[in-house]
Symmetry: C2
Subunit: 478 residues, 2 copies
């Protein structure tokens, strides 16, 4: 009986595997250095003993934990472990790791190894990793399935990313509404292998149309002689395969669902969406938001090669670079002003930087609200009024602080006035842009987080420089 | 039978409530303008009819949906709806809305109304909203509970934020291990009110020590005459109330849990953690990460007053402002250089801005990895090598682009060399800082996301200006 927190154990196990790997590498290095000595035999014994110890340790790990360990290992170590466990637990482990890590592991396998691995997968497993498989191998494996199964997999593969169809499982229990509770329980007992996390039964009529659900709880509590159609709930939250997955996730959160039926346009049951798939999706999406805001396009394996990581991050850096050329051009327009009053060059980043931060605060709030469907169309006017109000208040406070700073350090009252006014104007414009950019991206069907921070900072920089230097030119240069 | 996607319906309902509210406001305005006319009576009838329609519409909404509607309404509209539904469904609705929105709703209630509301809450409901209640009222309500219940609530209230204890429910089913499956099912049937999302039974010995679990599925499938202790699973993922909630959430995701027992230090069962609470927590945390990175301290109600929003965002803006003073000071050191070559003022934000973005990419990746426990201590050296590698590659590429730009626009080859080298150095330093700041914040027991972007940008700005202007002074000014 394990009552200790599971994560302590996981952390210890992860550390043990890391340690074993490190020790093994030291031994291998030694063996390599001494390869022409008599010592060889002994070394190889020690080496083999270590491998056995590692093997033992890995056997003791739950597949989900092993998946976690693989995520925390650099590519070469990861593949070393993967080769040890591939044959026996390949399928389970592949289902536990992230897309990026799965890709790295599948990529290191030969065609023969892949073919062997696929041979042991059922249609639902195949479906889950299909995107990462070479097409030819997947097609080959599909021909070995029954035509019904093959059709189900092929249909499920057509659903686009971010739809319920791409998250759903095709494993499920469906029962005819005319059965009694006792018959339903008997049917369940007769199944060898029930899907995981089963909390409710999906009830269909003779044409496979979903007509209701019965929670396992009510199956236990109900009168065994009653028919399903008399006790089932008819008011069911269900989804279609084309439904937006983010919307479905919000519904899972709102109604505290554990599983929900997925139906086709005709109302026929075609799959099952479960809370574990939804939770993985929510986690992935929120990671994506954090990365996208910072200008990283796609999820990145922590231990990906330098080249692939560099490529993944370059796009938005180049966008960023070109936007700074605009800012540089704007500053260039005021070269004369700056050469008259060089201190302006020192002060101008203050306005731009605080402007960027103000805008980013607004953007972060809006992205969060958009992703949770909290902004109704008719409320955008309200949002603008509010954000302008907030930035006015903070612009006045920060403008005052920066003015006092300018007077104390540079003793220039006129300059202090200019920078305070520039701060206020820039902050208000930054708030407006902070709202407009994500809303605009969303209306254009883009992810509102993707690059919003890069675009925003570019705009607030240019605006900050322009407002500050423009005001200074008008008011300070005679 | 509802087979349409539930979110379409929710959106339509939300829109209807918004529309009804708008129409009602127009009527109220008219009534106000014409208040001294004979029209009054008719208007008030129309008004009352509208109120009835609104009432009808609200009655049809699931409490979770009503919670969503309340989240999407500005404060005055929100309170208008809240007053209508408060009496009948106050408790359920309070449990559905976010902390910030709940606070706004509780804050608008009189003491008498609050007292009435609390009178209808059971100990578990009380526990969930206890943090938002006036202490005196909570204490008063607690005295009305049985001493056992009171003790459980008071104990549960001592758990700090971000612990399993703060998320767990004290409602659960515990069964003695000596019972048979049939007796267990009978016991369940005898309960009026089972907790929601029940997927497994917690099995204890006579001293309330958790000894195993039995899934509802196995209760259905098993032989009714067997004893629980013979069929229960003894290898249980359990938590203690002091466990870190983020770690627990990761365990829920890894093992696809629906519920898990919570025990005290002595192994006695004290509560139950369910996937819906975990999912809400994951959503909340990921929102927090997005907001914290952008320099917003605490979750903000989208429709909070301008004053409270401004205050919530001011802290990090002031930190930001003071860090820009440092950057301004560094630029000030090179006033002479700038006055010799004013174009440096135009080019210096290029280096600083791209540096900031590079560092932010690294920070976003690390924050994500830290929150998922993917970085082992012994891998930090590896991470530094990799991030320095990535920033070197991108520094060379972006440095080349900016050099070409400088030659084409300003025809100055020496300046082009200076800015390219400054770009490379700044990007490498930015990557190092992008790793160091979140890791350092985490080691100090802070949230690695909190303000990391503000601190990082401040550092990269100063570094960018210093490297670029310093190199220019050494190499270009004679």
């Amino acid at each position: 009986m394990q009552t200790r927190p599971s994560n302590e154990i996981l952390e210890r196990n992860t550390r043990i595997v890391h340690d074993l790997l490190n020790r093994q590498k030291i031994i291998e290095n030694l063996a390599h250095q001494q390869s022409n000595r008599r010592q060889d035999l002994v070394d190889s014994l020690v080496h083999r003993q270590h491998l056995a110890e590692l093997d033992q340790q890995l056997k003791r790990l739950h597949s989900a934990d092993l998946g976690h360990v693989l995520e925390t290992l650099p590519l070469d170590d990861r593949l070393r472990i993967w080769r040890i466990v591939m044959d026996k637990r390949g399928t389970e482990i592949l289902l536990e790791v992230s897309d990026a890590v799965r890709n790295s592991m599948l990529g290191a396998m030969t065609e023969t190894e892949l073919r062997q691995l696929l041979a042991h997968m059922d249609s639902n497993d195949l479906l889950e990793i299909a995107d990462d498989l070479p097409e030819a191998l997947l097609a080959e494996r599909l021909t070995q399935l029954s035509s019904e199964e093959k059709q189900r997999v092929q249909e499920a593969l057509t659903y686009r990313e971010n739809t319920v169809g791409s998250l759903m499982s095709i494993e499920m229990v469906q029962l005819q509404s005319s059965l009694t509770l006792e018959q339903a329980a008997q049917y369940l007992r007769a199944q060898k292998d029930l899907p995981e996390n089963i909390d409710k039964l999906f009830i269909v009529n003779h044409r496979h149309h979903l007509v209701g659900i019965l929670s396992l709880q009510n199956l236990v509590l109900g009168n065994p002689e009653q028919r399903l159609e008399d006790v089932m709930a008819r008011d069911v939250v269900s989804f279609t395969a084309e439904d937006n997955a983010e919307q479905a996730a919000l519904a899972f959160e709102r109604y505290d669902l554990v599983s929900a039926p997925v139906v086709n346009q005709r109302g026929q049951l075609i799959g099952r969406l479960t809370v574990d798939a939804v939770m993985d999706f929510v986690r992935e999406k929120s990671n994506e938001d954090v990365l996208n805001m910072a200008g990283i396009n796609t999820e990145e394996d922590l231990f990906a090669s330098i080249w692939s990581s560099a490529r993944n991050r370059l796009t938005w850096l180049i966008v960023n670079l070109f936007t700074t050329f605009i800012a540089a051009h704007i500053i260039g327009l005021y070269e004369d002003t700056i050469s008259h009053l060089v201190i302006l060059a020192a002060l101008m980043p203050i306005v731009a930087s605080v402007g960027g931060n103000t805008g980013n605060q607004t953007t972060a709030l809006i992205i969060r609200a958009l992703s949770q469907g909290q902004i109704q169309q008719d409320k955008t006017a309200y949002m603008y009024r509010k954000e302008i109000g907030v930035s006015t208040v903070n612009g006045l406070i920060l403008g005052t602080i920066v003015a006092v700073f300018t007077i104390v350090v540079y003793g220039n009252v006129a300059l202090a006035g200019v920078i305070a006014v520039a701060m206020l104007i820039t902050l208000i414009l930054a708030a407006i842009l902070g709202l407009t950019i994500p809303i605009f991206l969303q209306k254009w069907g883009r992810d509102p987080a993707l690059g919003s921070s890069v675009i925003l900072t570019a705009a607030t920089d240019s605006i900050g420089f322009f407002v500050f230097l423009g005001l200074a030119t008008m008011l300070l240069i005679h």
